[in-house]
C-alpha cells in the first residue's frame, strides 16, 4: 500500500512540473469535504465522499499558501515511505516548520494548518494517512480470547492480567492467530472497560472487550472493522446516554464527515447499539441519576435526528425522547442499581433478548 502511495506522490509532482513547463497555472484537485459532497451510501451503510472536487491554483492568493504546504507535506511523506519510518502528525509539523527567507512568515504557523493539508493529500491521492506513514494518537485498549502476531511477537489478549493490550495507531500489519470469541463489545469509557475486565466479562461471555476512551482513534476503529469483516463478529457498542455517545456509535458504524474518504477502512455498518438508551433510563428507574442536558447536547441530538442511518423508528423514538426529557445519563448510572448490575443483569439481559438498536 505504501509503495503505491509513494508512486502516486511522485506522479502528482510530475503532473505539476508538466503544467509549469507549459506556462500553465498549476493546480491540485481536492475532493470537497463539506456537507454538499458527503453522502451516505445506503447500500454499504457508509458515509462516502461524492464526486465534487475543487481546483486549487497556485496563482490564486487564497490558495497559494495551501498549495505550497501541500507540496511540502507530499515531499516529506515520500521520504518517510522511502526510509520506512512512521511519525506523528505533530512531529511532522515541527519537522516541516521553518521561516520563509526575508519574512516573518513560517511554512506552517500552527498544527491547525498542517492537519487539514494531510486530509487534502489523502483524498487527492485516494489513500490513507497510514499509507503516508503518518500516525494519529493512540488510546484504545483491548482484552479477550484472541491471539495475534505483531512485529514478530505473539500476543495473547486473554493473558494480560488486570491490564490490557494498548491498541497502536496502525493495526494493518497485525496477524490474527486465533480468534475464539463470539462478538465484540465496544465501551466508550476506560473505567467501564476496567469494570467489565475485572469481572472477566469477556471470559464469561466469550467476547472481545474494546475500550475506546471517548471518540475512538483511527487504529481502534480499524481494529473493530477488521474483527467484524474478517471474522464476521457482531459488534455491540455501549456508550453514555447522550448525544455524544450516540455520535461515537454513529462514527464507529457509518464513519465521519471529516474522514468520509476513509469510511471503507474505518466503518463497521453492521455494528449495533447496546445502550444506554433513553428508554433504559425509564426501564431501570434511573431518572434520578440523570443529568440535565446542555443546549449543545440538545442541538447535537437534533442534528442526529437527521442522519440518514437513524431514519428508523427505533432511533427516532430514542433521540426524540432524549430531546424531550432534556436529560442524559452516564454508563455509571447503572451502578445505582448495584455495582455488578451492569455485568450480571444489564448486559446479559440485552444480549439474551437481542435488545439492540440498529
Amino acid at each position: 500500500m505504501s509503495k503505491e502511495t509513494q508512486k502516486k506522490l511522485i506522479n502528482l509532482a510530475h503532473k505539476i512540473v508538466n503544467e509549469i513547463n507549459h506556462g500553465v497555472d498549476p493546480y491540485l484537485e481536492i475532493p470537497i469535504r463539506s456537507l454538499t459532497n458527503v453522502k451516505w451510501n445506503e447500500k454499504d451503510g457508509l458515509l462516502r465522499l461524492g464526486e465534487k472536487k475543487s481546483k486549487r491554483y497556485f496563482f490564486n492568493v487564497a490558495y497559494a499558501r495551501k498549495f505550497m504546504q501541500t507540496l511540502l507535506i507530499a515531499d516529506f511523506c515520500k521520504d518517510l515511505i522511502e526510509e520506512n519510518i512512521h511519525t506523528s502528525i505533530r512531529d511532522m509539523y515541527y519537522n516541516l516548520k521553518r521561516t520563509l527567507p526575508d519574512t516573518k512568515e513560517n511554512t506552517f504557523e500552527t498544527q491547525d494548518e498542517s492537519n487539514p493539508i494531510i486530509v487534502d493529500l489523502e483524498t487527492n491521492l485516494d489513500t490513507l494517512r497510514e499509507n503516508l506513514h503518518l500516525l494519529a494518537d493512540r488510546k484504545g485498549i483491548v482484552a479477550g480470547n484472541v491471539k495475534i502476531k505483531d512485529r514478530g511477537d505473539l500476543i495473547d489478549w486473554s493473558k494480560l492480567g488486570s491490564g490490557g493490550w494498548s491498541i497502536p495507531s496502525v493495526v494493518e500489519d497485525i496477524k490474527f492467530v486465533k480468534v475464539n470469541a463470539k462478538f465484540v463489545l465496544v465501551i466508550e469509557k476506560n473505567a467501564g472497560f476496567e469494570r467489565l475486565h475485572e469481572d472477566k466479562f469477556w471470559q464469561k461471555y466469550n467476547c472481545i472487550l474494546i475500550g475506546t476512551g471517548g471518540q475512538p482513534a483511527r487504529g481502534t476503529r480499524r481494529l473493530i472493522r477488521r474483527l467484524n469483516q474478517e471474522f464476521k463478529l457482531p459488534v455491540y457498542v455501549l456508550t453514555d446516554n447522550d448525544a455524544y455517545g450516540v455520535y461515537i456509535y454513529s462514527v464507529i458504524k457509518s464513519g465521519s464527515m471529516a474522514l468520509a474518504h476513509a469510511s471503507e477502512q474505518l466503518g463497521t455498518p453492521s455494528a449495533k447499539f447496546i445502550g444506554l438508551t433513553p428508554s433504559d433510563v425509564k426501564k431501570y428507574g434511573l431518572e434520578k441519576f440523570t443529568i440535565k442536558a446542555t443546549d449543545r447536547d440538545i442541538k447535537r441530538a437534533k442534528e442526529l435526528l437527521n442522519y440518514p442511518w437513524f431514519q428508523n423508528k427505533e432511533w427516532q423514538r430514542e433521540i426524540k425522547l432524549m430531546i424531550k426529557t432534556k436529560r442524559k445519563a452516564e454508563i455509571e448510572a447503572l451502578s445505582a442499581r448495584g455495582l455488578k448490575f451492569i455485568t450480571e443483569t444489564y448486559l446479559p439481559e440485552k444480549l439474551k433478548k437481542k435488545e439492540f438498536l440498529p
Partner: protein, 541 residues
C-alpha cells in the same frame, strides 16, 4: 376653605403680608444667580466662555462688515485663578453712544428678532461676560472702539444689577485722528487655564478650521500661537427672512396679529411671512373661513386659532434659504487642510432643508490618516453656525448621527451604535437661523428626526468619499502584496517539486517566476471563488 385645617393662624402670613413681599426681579439679577445658564459654571469653563463669547462677537461683526476677520486674543494670568482677558478685532467698531447699552445691559442686541444665521443671538454674550467679570472681581470692563471716523471711544463699564442698566465708570472720546475701525474689550475674571479637550486652545483651533478666512493670534500662558488665514474669501452674507407659516406657534401668531402694520388680513399674510403670495394668502383665508379684509388687530381668539390651523394646512414653498451662510465644501476643505496634518480630506455640503419651518443646512468634513492617532475613537468636531461645541458631546444629535451611521461599510472599524475607531477626524457643521440646543449652555443639538436625517445623509456621502479613497489605497496595496506572496512561495514549491521529480530546481523556479509575472500584471479576482467551503471541513484523528 376648610377651617379645621388652619393651624397657628397667628404665625401664618396673611395674603396682605405676602403681597408686600412681592417684587420684580431684574434679568441681570436672575442671571447673576443663575450664571451657569450662561456657561459660567466653574472657573475653567468660565475662562473658555468669556473668550468664546468675545471672539464669536468679533467674527460676527467682521463678517457683517465684509472684512476678512483679524482677531487678537490675550489671556494673561493675574495671580491665583485670575486672568486678564483681551480681545481685539478689525470689525466695524461701535458708535460711541451705543457702547454702554450694547455691553452694559443684558438681553440687548441686534440679532434676537432676526431670522438669519449668526453666531450670537440673544444679546447675552459680551454683557454676560461683563456680568461674570464684575461678580468675581468687582472690576469694570474697558472697551475701546473706533468706526474709522478719526475718533476713539474709551469706556469703563459695569452693569447695574438691580436695574439691568449700564453703569458708566469712565468715558472719554479722543479726537486722535487715527483712522481705524474695530473694537477692543478688556476685563479681569476668575478663571482657570487648562490644556487639551475643552480648552481655549482647542476652541480657537476648531474656530480656525470653520473660519479659515480669519486670522487669529492667541497670546496665552504658553506663549504666542498663530492661526493663519487659509482663504481670502468670506462665505456669502446671510439675509434676514420673515417667519414661515409652518414654523410659528399660535401664541406668536397672535402677537404678530397684534403688532402688525398691515390693515387687512390679506396684506398681513403676504407682508409678514415668507413664501405667502396673494394666491396662498387667499387660500389660507378660505380654509380658515375668515374674511381677507378683516383688520388683523381685531381678530378674536377663536378666529386666530382657525387661521393658525389653516396656515399649517395650505401647501407652501419651503422657506428661502439665503438666510443661511454655509462654508461650502471649498472653504471647509481649506480649513481642515490648514489645521490638520492628514493624508486625505473630503467635505460635503448638503442642500438646505427645513425643520419646523426653520431652514437649516448641514455640512461635514473628514480628515484621515497622516498624523492623526490611529488608536481610539474618531474625533468628532461639532459646530453650530461656525461655532465649536465643546461640551455635552454624548447628548448631541451630531454625535448620535455619527454613532448610528454604519462606518464599517466605508472602511472604519465600529462596534454597533458607537463612534467609529480609526485615524480620522469627522467635522459636522449645523447652520440654521434657529439652532435647537438642548439647553442654554448651547453645547448640544436636539435630535429632531429631520435634523438627524440630514446629518446622516451628509455623513453617508462623506463615507462614500472616504470609502472610495480607501478602496483605491487597498487596491494598490493588494497588487503589491499579491506579487510578494507568489515570490515568497515559489522557492519552496520549486524545491519540493525538484526533490520529488529530480527536475532541475532552478529551471522550475524560473518558469514559475515567469508565470507569476504574467499573472500579477492584472488582478485576477474571479479565481477566489473556485474552491468551495474548504475551511469548514473538520479534522478528527
Amino acid at each position: 376653605m376648610v377651617g379645621t385645617e388652619v393651624l397657628n393662624m397667628e404665625k401664618g402670613k396673611s395674603a396682605e403680608q405676602l403681597a408686600k413681599e412681592q417684587r420684580e426681579v431684574s434679568v441681570s439679577e436672575f442671571f447673576e444667580r443663575n450664571r451657569h445658564l450662561l456657561g459660567y459654571d466653574n472657573p475653567t469653563k468660565a475662562l473658555l466662555t468669556v473668550v468664546k463669547e468675545l471672539v464669536d462677537n468679533s467674527l460676527d461683526s467682521a463678517e457683517d462688515h465684509r472684512v476678512l476677520p483679524r482677531i487678537w486674543v490675550v489671556a494673561k494670568p493675574k495671580g491665583v485663578d485670575r486672568f486678564k482677558i483681551m480681545v481685539k478685532d478689525n470689525g466695524p467698531g461701535m458708535i460711541d453712544k451705543q457702547i454702554p447699552l450694547a455691553f452694559g445691559k443684558l438681553l440687548y442686541g441686534s440679532r434676537f428678532y432676526k431670522l438669519m444665521m449668526t453666531r450670537g443671538q440673544q444679546g447675552l454674550g459680551a454683557s454676560g461676560a461683563i456680568l461674570y467679570s464684575q461678580l468675581t472681581t468687582g472690576k469694570p470692563t474697558t472697551i475701546i472702539s473706533s468706526t474709522a471716523d478719526g475718533k476713539t471711544s474709551f469706556y469703563e463699564l459695569m452693569i447695574d444689577i438691580k436695574t439691568n442698566k449700564p453703569e458708566i465708570i469712565s468715558h472719554q472720546v479722543i479726537n486722535d485722528g487715527k483712522i481705524w475701525h474695530g473694537l477692543k474689550i478688556e476685563m479681569e475674571i476668575e478663571g482657570k487655564y487648562i490644556r487639551g479637550e475643552r480648552s481655549v486652545l482647542e476652541y480657537l483651533k476648531e474656530t480656525a478650521i470653520t473660519n479659515p478666512y480669519a486670522d487669529i493670534t492667541f497670546q496665552g500662558p504658553d506663549g504666542k500661537i498663530e492661526f493663519k488665514r487659509g482663504a481670502n474669501k468670506l462665505p456669502k452674507l446671510p439675509k434676514e427672512i420673515k417667519p414661515h407659516p409652518y414654523g410659528i406657534e399660535l401664541g406668536i401668531l397672535k402677537r404678530m396679529l397684534n403688532i402688525t402694520r398691515a390693515k387687512s388680513l390679506l396684506s398681513f399674510l403676504t407682508n409678514d411671512f415668507s413664501r405667502v403670495g396673494k394666491t396662498s394668502a387667499k387660500q389660507i383665508c378660505k380654509v380658515s373661513g375668515l374674511n381677507p379684509n378683516l383688520d388683523p388687530h381685531k381678530i378674536e381668539n377663536h378666529e386666530a386659532e382657525k387661521l393658525f390651523r389653516a396656515m399649517k394646512k395650505v401647501k407652501l414653498l419651503r422657506p428661502p434659504t439665503d438666510c443661511l451662510s454655509p462654508l461650502e465644501e471649498d472653504l471647509l476643505l481649506k480649513g481642515l487642510q490648514k489645521e490638520i496634518n492628514a493624508e486625505f480630506f473630503a467635505a460635503v455640503t448638503r442642500p438646505p432643508s427645513v425643520y419646523r419651518g426653520n431652514p437649516f443646512q448641514v455640512e461635514c468634513g473628514i480628515a484621515y490618516g497622516g498624523e492623526i492617532a490611529p488608536e481610539g475613537s474618531v474625533k468628532i468636531m461639532r459646530f453650530s453656525n461656525k461655532v465649536p461645541l465643546l461640551y455635552q458631546s454624548g447628548d448631541c444629535a451630531i454625535t448620535k448621527a455619527v454613532a448610528t451611521t454604519d462606518w464599517s461599510r466605508y472602511g472604519l472599524k465600529q462596534s454597533k451604535n458607537s463612534v467609529p475607531v480609526g485615524p480620522a477626524i469627522i467635522l459636522v457643521h449645523f447652520a440654521s437661523v434657529w439652532v435647537p440646543f438642548i439647553s442654554e449652555s448651547k453645547q448640544a443639538l436636539a435630535a429632531y428626526p429631520a435634523i438627524m436625517k440630514e446629518i446622516k445623509l451628509a455623513l453617508q456621502e462623506l463615507g462614500r468619499k472616504l470609502s472610495h479613497y480607501l478602496a483605491g489605497k487597498r487596491r494598490r496595496e493588494y497588487h503589491i502584496k499579491r506579487k510578494k506572496i507568489f515570490e515568497r512561495y515559489i522557492p519552496v514549491v520549486a524545491e519540493s517539486l525538484s526533490h520529488m521529480t529530480k527536475v532541475n530546481e532552478e529551471k522550475i523556479k524560473i518558469k514559475l517566476e515567469k508565470i507569476a509575472e504574467e499573472k500579477t500584471g492584472v488582478v485576477n479576482e474571479q479565481g477566489d471563488s473556485e474552491e468551495i467551503n474548504q475551511s469548514s471541513t473538520q479534522n478528527s484523528e
